[in-house]
């Protein structure tokens, strides 16, 4: 029985997508339902619509101003242009003049456009329907006198799903995120982890009580509505511990050294330029993993060579001479990309993904390699290939890369071949690592762990099997040993590297290059500083 007067604590289990804890009121981002306002005259209705359009335009300009990435800016610019289009506005105003309410008139004008995009054959145009819907709803919100769904800091936000642009526009200080859809590897989850925003997915958000106090324990994938005094006390305690860890972490902004004084390089994993804006390159030893999927996802149009080149170049400029390791497109698996990956793959993690997919889409791969070859001239670029299983795949990539360089030279463009390395995430590659002609190795522990244990990291019931095992560490050791003996670098860029509790075990394997989400920089450097040498 639901008895709200008792306010009994109510526990809802979801899946952890980004660690951390938060306490605050639940704010439900509801799908919009708008009250109908009555206007005394057509003139009043006209003015209401014009005001709502102007207010929406202000919102969007402000968002575009802070967006910080090309794709978000372009989408917002499209919405702004729609707001300035008489062929959309004039019919709405005409309807008001003949007696329609302002919101009715606006919907009547924009809905047929939405329907026509929804019916488009081309996936790019189909995806634009959501832009128009977003715009329609924004104007309707203004007409209904609702403020924009900007959320105050310190709340726990619950929604069906969240596009990255909304995530980026939200102030997450002391807040958290609860979604029905999405997965721990969705791009919002990746953003949440890199910004230290606690997040869980898989929660039925419809029945959450708006405004209720809630405790989000994203470490455990748990949301507690109306937490009792005990839970709050334990939250306060964990919170105090966390801020202590953060304080300690703050002392470790310089280069990382073990207790014995050995230098360890700590780099960051990023998905795009937006994350770099709040980071000082002086605090990191470079970018250990730039995931380019983000440039391809959620847009239904593949980025051009020029667009990619501009982004890669800006990252290299940011790093100011420090290494920037860019991974070629790792689509497939749990990262579908429209027009590239196949929906309904029986076993996507064992299917066409990473380099397997790139080699089957030479045009897409070629554009990326050309962009990378041009960027290699600008700074300290390294390129790595994901999901390499056999040496021939890497050889093939190298040949294509050289071809791309030659082409560019023939066109009179500046280009060069950067060091080409491989992600080691398939056990077959880790076991025969000496067979690969790679300039460096980067261990992708997330996939390596689930492949070696044949246990999905997204299956909560198999959490025990998916944990770091002796089998995993022995594969890591094999790669690190081979790298050291052949004078090459080996780094580790999975979640394992960002877990301070695993730091000692990884250092024991000889690993001296870590690549972690920016949020984990401090704690990992602190763990390295505590390391006095192999326990064995």
């Amino acid at each position: 029985m639901d008895d709200r007067t008792h306010r009994a604590a109510h526990r809802i289990q979801g899946r952890s997508a980004a660690p951390g804890i938060a306490l605050g009121p639940l704010v439900r981002l509801a799908p919009v339902e708008h009250g109908v306002r009555q206007y005394r005259s057509a003139a009043e209705g006209r003015q209401a619509l014009l005001d709502a359009l102007a207010a929406s335009q202000e919102d969007l300009s402000a968002l575009a101003h802070q967006a910080g990435d090309d794709e978000a800016e372009a989408i917002l610019a499209f919405q702004i242009a729609l707001l300035e289009d008489d062929s959309l506005i004039a019919p709405a105003l005409a309807r008001i003049d003949v007696g329609d309410g302002a919101n009715q008139a606006w919907s009547a004008a924009i809905d047929p456009e939405i329907a026509s995009y929804d019916a488009a054959e081309d996936p790019y145009f189909r995806a634009r329907a959501s832009d128009l819907r977003d715009l329609r709803d924004r104007v309707l919100r203004h007409l209904a006198g609702e403020t924009d769904q900007t959320v105050p800091a310190g709340v726990i936000l619950a929604a069906d799903d969240m596009p990255p642009s909304i995530f980026l526009a939200t102030d997450w200080r002391d807040g958290g995120l609860v979604l029905r859809r999405g997965s721990p590897s969705s791009h919002v989850a990746i953003l949440a982890r890199s910004r230290g925003v606690p997040m869980i997915v898989g929660v039925d958000v419809d029945h959450l009580e708006h405004g209720a106090d809630a405790l989000l324990d994203a470490d455990a994938g748990l949301l507690v509505v109306h937490p009792d005094a005990n839970m709050r006390a334990s939250f306060d305690q964990r919170r105090a511990e966390q801020s202590k860890t953060r304080e300690i972490a703050h002392e470790f902004t310089g280069p990382a050294r073990t207790a014995a004084g050995e230098l360890v390089r700590v780099m960051i994993n990023v998905t795009g330029l937006a994350e770099l804006s709040t980071l000082d390159p002086a605090d990191v030893d470079g970018i250990g993993l730039m995931r380019t999927e983000f440039l391809f996802q959620g847009r239904e149009k593949l980025p051009t060579e020029e667009e990619q080149y501009r982004i890669y170049r800006r990252m290299l400029e940011w790093a100011a001479g420090k290494p920037v390791t860019i991974r070629t497109l790792d689509a497939g698996g749990d990262k579908p990309i429209a027009g590239l990956t196949r929906p309904g793959d029986m076993n996507p993690f064992l299917g066409l993904r990473g380099v397997r997919l790139s080699l089957r889409h030479p045009d897409v791969f070629r554009a990326q390699l050309r962009a990378l070859a041009r960027a290699a001239v600008v700074g300290n670029l390294k390129v790595m290939i994901p999901m390499v299983t056999v040496p021939e795949e890497l050889d093939c990539c190298r040949a294509l890369f050289e071809q791309a360089c030659d082409e560019l030279h023939r066109e009179g463009k500046q280009a060069q071949m950067p060091p080409l390395g491989m992600m080691v995430e398939v056990p077959a590659a880790a076991l025969t690592i000496e067979d690969f002609n790679a300039d460096f190795f980067s261990i992708g522990s997330n996939d390596l762990a689930q492949y070696v244990a044949a246990a999905s990291r997204d299956e909560p019931q198999l959490a025990d099997l998916a944990r770091p095992s002796r089998a995993l560490f022995s594969l890591i050791r094999n790669v690190v040993d081979h790298a050291n003996s052949s004078g090459r670098e080996a780094s580790l860029c999975g979640d394992l590297a960002g877990d301070p509790e695993q730091g000692a075990a990884l250092l024991d394997q000889g690993l001296r290059i870590f690549s972690v989400t920016p949020g984990a920089l401090g704690p990992v450097k602190a763990a390295i500083a505590r390391y006095a040498g192999s326990a064995a």
Binding site: A77, F78, E84, D85, D86, D122, Y124, R128, D131, K301
Partner: protein
């Protein structure tokens, strides 16, 4: 007044998607002249200043874009639009 005409081959990789359309309509709006856009020399013509209409053409890569303009700055408008499309919608960034 006479309508001036121009045409240009659009080689932009994705065709008239949101980003190029935004640039095109913005540029067109900077001119006083009435400017129409079509995908054939005889139309049908749509208002080149309307993003809704321009996007609705769904013009793919390698389409020839036809413009006609009427007004005091028609010549300058056509030159600017052709330069934009011919230059692959770059804006000097």
């Amino acid at each position: 007044m006479n309508k001036l005409r121009a045409s240009v081959l659009m080689r932009h990789e994705v065709g008239l998607h949101a980003r190029p359309s935004v640039k095109l309509t913005k540029l067109a709006k900077g001119f006083e002249s009435r400017i129409d856009l079509g995908l054939s020399p005889d139309g049908p013509w749509i208002d080149a200043k309307s993003i809704v209409k321009v996007m609705a053409t769904k013009a793919p890569k390698d389409s020839t874009i036809y413009f006609r303009a009427e007004g005091a700055d028609a010549k300058a408008a056509l030159e600017a639009l052709v330069t934009l499309v011919d230059g692959d919608f770059q804006d000097g960034r």
